[in-house]
């Protein structure tokens, strides 16, 4: 590793370094300078500096995005800097920015510095999760996100629900982390690599025969369980409603949007880059169903859509409703993940469709959480009854909520409609000759027809029923503006999706970007060595390996 390369790496990592510095800086600032100030004053000081810092990071990413044409890979994929990744990082940072604006001056706790610091660390985790293509880094980044979010969920120490939600989130999360680590260790044990690209290499062609399939299968299954928890897919979703309901609304927004984007990107990468050879097939069940992750993901997708949509019907709390709806939406996205590798070759639009949808989904949800926060903090709660007659009390916020709900339900001309169309079209496209995935798509469309019922139920509360309390509900101009912008984006991305689609398709045109190692892998001869050496002896020594 020579110095020029270190500089290059540092150059690539500039925004992450700034972000990390910002997180520590906020903590230190709070401890050193503002300890004695009033909570409100600290909120103002720290909130504004976080906003300025995040805007700065956002612009560094934007510069990187415009500047780069190549993909840079650091250390076997521990950090991959590509335009696509940068786009997601911009999205995550932007969402964090909105989260800070939404939660500005909402007095959840007196620990202001910790609140912002943890939030920034969680964003750092998301950013690293998006950029890593290495099992270890994926795990570390995921844990960074999770650990900070556990604390943030329970941040409202006085409220029982908050603590309960945090505890549930923590216990489920701990289990799932164990599952994930166990699964990743088996994948490593079976293939001998932690880098996704090298894992894919070890599974290619005739190499595949040398891999212990059972071990790999168990590894993939456990990994899917672990990641299924992060994306709140059924049946690993049980923490979500409680965590969403209990957590301070900005934190819930963060769990529902930023962390979802990062987790979905990680899942897509793991399956698309690392394990395409183990996809199997979920086409035209049961005749063309081959074992592999595609079938498992299809089952998880069906469960998520069913449980998410039907459980959402029963809800009377808006945040719980959004939690179950996010389970359902995870199901829709998984439909396209099934399609990624459905017929042996990567489906051309599956990955862009997933990317488009998670961005749309995150935008819509952060908007919805913003409205919930604005209304909930004034009306005294997040139950349906607090939203009754809101169209009279707060026409602007109600209109925005209507837009977000209809977008989630998939009504044109809002972005959610095109997002769903894109997802489902990509899924059918995976096997266009025999329409092999049409069964799954048909199920998803039927389920999204069910979803209209509960989204309309909420809007009915706001628009149809008369208000019990005639006082108007208003929110601050910064929040109004940012929510309005989100609403406008949801509308525009629905009416003119072509530009965004074009961008994603171009960025994704080459899913295996050229390996341009910023740091050349130092032990050059090592790459060919482990492959032949380990393979014959794999079943016996690899089994104890993960236990260590």
């Amino acid at each position: 590793m020579n110095s020029s390369n270190i500089l290059h790496v540092l150059n690539l990592l500039t925004p992450e370094i700034v972000l990390c510095g910002l997180a520590f800086g906020v903590l230190l600032l709070d401890i050193i300078f503002f300890r004695s100030d009033s909570v409100e004053h600290r909120h103002e000081q720290l909130g504004c500096s976080v906003i300025i810092g995040l805007v700065m990071v956002f612009f560094i990413y934007a510069l990187q995005y415009m500047d780069w044409q190549n993909t840079f890979v650091v250390g076997h994929g521990a950090f991959v800097a590509s335009r696509l990744n940068t786009l997601f990082k911009m999205a995550v940072v932007g969402l964090a920015l909105i989260t800070v604006v939404i939660g500005f001056k909402t007095p959840y706790s007196t620990h202001v510095g910790e609140y912002y610091g943890l939030m920034l660390f969680s964003v750092l985790g998301m950013v690293f999760l998006i950029s890593s293509e290495d099992l270890l880094m994926i795990f570390i980044a995921l844990e960074l996100i999770s650990l900070t979010l556990y604390v943030l969920t329970a941040f409202q120490k006085g409220a029982r629900r908050s603590v309960e939600g945090g505890l549930k989130y923590f216990i489920f999360g701990g289990f799932s982390a164990a599952f994930l680590l166990f699964g990743l260790s088996y994948i490593y044990g079976a293939t001998g690599h932690t880098s996704l690209r090298e894992i894919a290499g070890a599974l290619q062609g005739d190499q595949l025969a040398k891999v212990p399939m059972k071990m790999l299968g168990i590894g993939i299954l456990f990994t899917l369980v672990g990641l299924g928890f992060k994306i709140a897919a059924a049946p690993f979703h049980l923490w979500a409603p409680d965590a969403y309901e209990g957590a301070p609304t900005p934190v819930a927004a963060m769990i529902a949007t930023g962390s979802k984007i990062a987790s979905f990107v990680a899942l897509t990468k793991l399956l698309l880059i690392g394990l395409p050879a183990a996809a199997g097939s979920a086409l035209s069940w049961p005749t063309r169903w081959h074992s592999g992750w595609a079938g498992t993901v299809a089952i998880i997708a069906v469960l998520s859509m069913t449980i998410g949509n039907f459980a959402a019907i029963m809800q009377t709390n808006v945040k719980r409703l959004l939690a179950y709806s996010s389970v359902a939406h995870a199901g829709y996205i998984l439909v396209a993940i099934v399609a990624i590798q459905a017929s042996g070759v990567p489906a051309p639009s599956a990955a862009p469709a997933i990317y488009f949808y998670i961005i749309i989904y995150a935008l819509t949800n952060i908007g919805a959480f913003g409205v919930v926060n604005a209304i909930g903090s004034k009306a005294g709660g997040d139950d349906f009854e607090h939203f009754t007659g809101m169209a009279r009390r707060s026409p602007y916020l109600s209109l925005l909520m209507l837009i977000f709900m209809l977008s989630l339900a998939g009504i044109p001309p809002l972005a959610g409609f095109f997002g769903k169309f894109y997802l489902f079209a990509a899924a059918v496209q995976a096997d266009p000759k025999n329409l092999g995935l049409l069964w799954l798509v048909a199920y998803a469309i039927a389920m999204s027809a069910v979803s209209l019922y509960y989204y309309l139920k909420l809007t009915k509360q706001m628009y149809v029923l008369p208000a019990k309390d005639p006082r108007r509900v208003t929110s601050n101009p910064a929040m109004n503006t940012s929510l309005g912008l989100i609403g406008l984006m949801v509308l525009l991305m629905g009416v003119f999706p072509n530009k965004v689609v074009e961008r994603f398709e171009n960025l994704n045109a080459n899913p295996y970007p050229i390996w341009e190692a910023a740091v050349p892998p130092p032990p050059q001869p090592e790459i060919p060595v482990p492959a032949p050496a380990e393979k014959p002896a794999v079943p016996a020594p690899a089994a104890p390996a993960p236990k260590s």
Binding site: L406, Q429, L435
Partner: protein
């Protein structure tokens, strides 16, 4: 230029939505202006449609690329089938605004939702790209919920939710079918949603046999096809007057139009192909061969619509439910005309769409606005003798009811006659039940006129002495609708010429090529 009907409605909706609800008169007048702009553009195009020219007119040629990655175009245009429906939308929107003149509550939102719905309907009738058509179709779904749930009456939230979920479930079927056909179509020009290109795709018959019912039923849910019609009466009854006019007058036609423009146009062989049912017969017979299977199935269902709707209408006690079920019955004629796949039947079907649109608009206006809002009851047993108190209303209703019965001299007569001729050619064995249905139609119509407007002498008729007088807006709107019924009834060619031309084109280009050799019809 016709596209402006869509944009004016959407822009109008936005402007009205943003206005202060207190400025009621201003909102009403703006709404009237927006509706009349749509109507005038429709009228202008209707009278300047060139019968000798190309089939599709007032469009934008091959369209503008909208989402090129999926071959989705913004491609619009109308032929002689859709132009009358565009005009019908204008008429119903205009009269709907006039009949809504008395709404006081949340007026800006009412007309906002109203014009979003109208804009969506205009869009469906003009779209020539399947994706575009679907987008407009879905845009038209949600406003109905709010209009009914907020401004409606009897069990409004139930009726609204049922209607919206039925429509959305139907559109989900269409969505599945659209995705399947998009990837199945093997076209030289690449994947596209362009309806004309898709129509030339020659889908395999085995594909058409399952895709056709999917798409057809998906659209027909909105056309009130039995057994998916139950949303219609409850929805119509719950809706405020302008919305029931729109629902029965225009929105149900969206469904029928979708059946014609998408299902039949893309899958004609699916309609006409023979299906062998795997039934076991003694010695040597492999199964039961049904000729032109789906066409027959839909014709039978349409007949059930006609007879069943009429029978249920006969026993209703609620005035509005009678009209609601009569809509179900009359939409049966539309579906029957489509199912015959015969030129005359198709023409009759389109004529019936227009005619029933006007009739249903008129009847719902009489029941919902002119009678119910004055008497505050719709029970037929409590009404009676209204003709003395409201001679104008009675007269209008009787004319509308006669038109709905299919009396000569009104538009309905000619439409139903054409459908019956088409049926005679395609399914002569269906004429007997249809005849019975027509007799029942006469029975329930006369019963309703009698009970509501004349009634039992024992009834106390003095209770109607103090009803509010009929307003000028109601008179203008009613006379307008009656005039249209009579004009089209006395001089059908005003409509029939263009319907004839485009139906002929439709049969020649889309239905005939698939029938040759397949169907032994004449």
């Amino acid at each position: 230029m016709l596209t402006w009907t869509i944009w004016v409605s959407f822009i109008g909706a936005g402007v009205i939505m943003l206005m202060k609800p207190e400025k009621k008169d201003l909102i009403r007048w703006i709404a009237l202006v927006v509706a009349s702009v749509g109507l005038l553009i429709g009228l202008f195009c209707f009278f300047t449609y060139d019968l000798g020219g190309s089939n599709y007119q007032f469009g934008n040629g091959d369209g503008v690329a909208w989402i090129p990655q999926f071959g989705i175009h913004f491609k619009v245009g109308v032929d002689g089938i859709s132009l009358p429906l565009v005009l019908l939308t204008g008429i119903i929107a205009f009269t709907g605004v006039l009949y809504s003149w008395n709404i006081e509550e949340r007026l800006n939102e009412f007309f906002g939702f109203f014009f979003v719905l109208i804009g969506g309907v205009y869009g469906v009738f003009q779209a020539r790209d399947l994706f575009l058509l679907f987008v407009f179709y879905e845009i038209a779904i949600v406003p109905k919920y709010f209009i009914i749930a907020i401004w409606g009456s009897t069990r409004k939230e139930y009726g609204a939710m049922k209607l919206v979920l039925y429509s959305f479930a139907g559109s989900a079927l269409v969505f599945i079918g659209a995705l399947a056909l998009y990837y199945t179509a093997d076209l030289p020009g690449g994947k596209t949603f362009d309806l004309d290109a898709l129509a030339s795709a020659n889908f395999p018959v085995s594909f058409q046999l399952w895709a056709l019912p999917l798409v057809f039923v998906g659209f027909a849910v909105l056309a009130g096809m039995w057994p998916f019609h139950t949303w219609a009466p409850t929805g119509h009854v719950a809706a405020p007057t302008a919305a029931s006019m729109l629902l029965a007058g225009v929105v149900m036609k969206l469904g029928a139009y979708g059946c014609l423009r998408v299902a039949i146009m893309l899958f004609p062989s699916g309609m006409t192909a023979n299906v062998t049912l795997p039934l076991w017969f003694p010695a040597g017979m492999s199964g039961l061969v049904i000729h032109h299977f789906w066409s027959s199935v839909f014709a039978i269902i349409a007949t059930i619509n006609i007879v069943y709707g009429a029978m249920v209408a006969l026993v209703q006690r609620d005035f509005k439910f009678v009209i609601g079920y009569s809509s179900v019955s009359h939409m049966g004629f539309v579906l029957l005309g489509l199912a015959t796949l015969d030129l005359t039947g198709l023409k009759g079907s389109v004529m019936q769409m227009f005619s029933h649109g006007v009739v249903a608009g008129l009847l719902f206006a009489v029941v919902g606005r002119m009678v119910y809002e004055r008497t505050h009851t719709r029970e037929l047993s409590e009404l009676g003798g209204l003709i003395k108190a409201m001679p104008f209303v009675g007269g209008v209703f009787i004319i509308g009811a006669f038109a709905s019965m299919g009396l000569p001299g009104f538009s309905g007569f000619f439409a139903e006659l054409l459908v019956l001729i088409g049926t005679w050619r395609a399914f002569p064995w269906l004429l007997l039940p249809i005849g019975i249905g027509i007799i029942i139609t006469v029975a329930y119509t006369l019963r309703t006129i009698h009970k509501a407007f004349f009634g039992d002498r024992r009834n106390d008729m003095t209770k109607w002495d103090h009803l509010a007088p009929v307003t000028i807006q109601e008179k203008v709107a009613s006379l307008m609708l009656v005039a249209i019924l009579v004009i089209v009834g006395l001089y059908p060619p005003i409509l029939l010429n263009m319907v004839d031309k485009s139906s002929d084109q439709f049969i020649k280009h889309h239905v005939k090529p698939s029938i040759s050799g397949n169907l032994a019809r004449q």
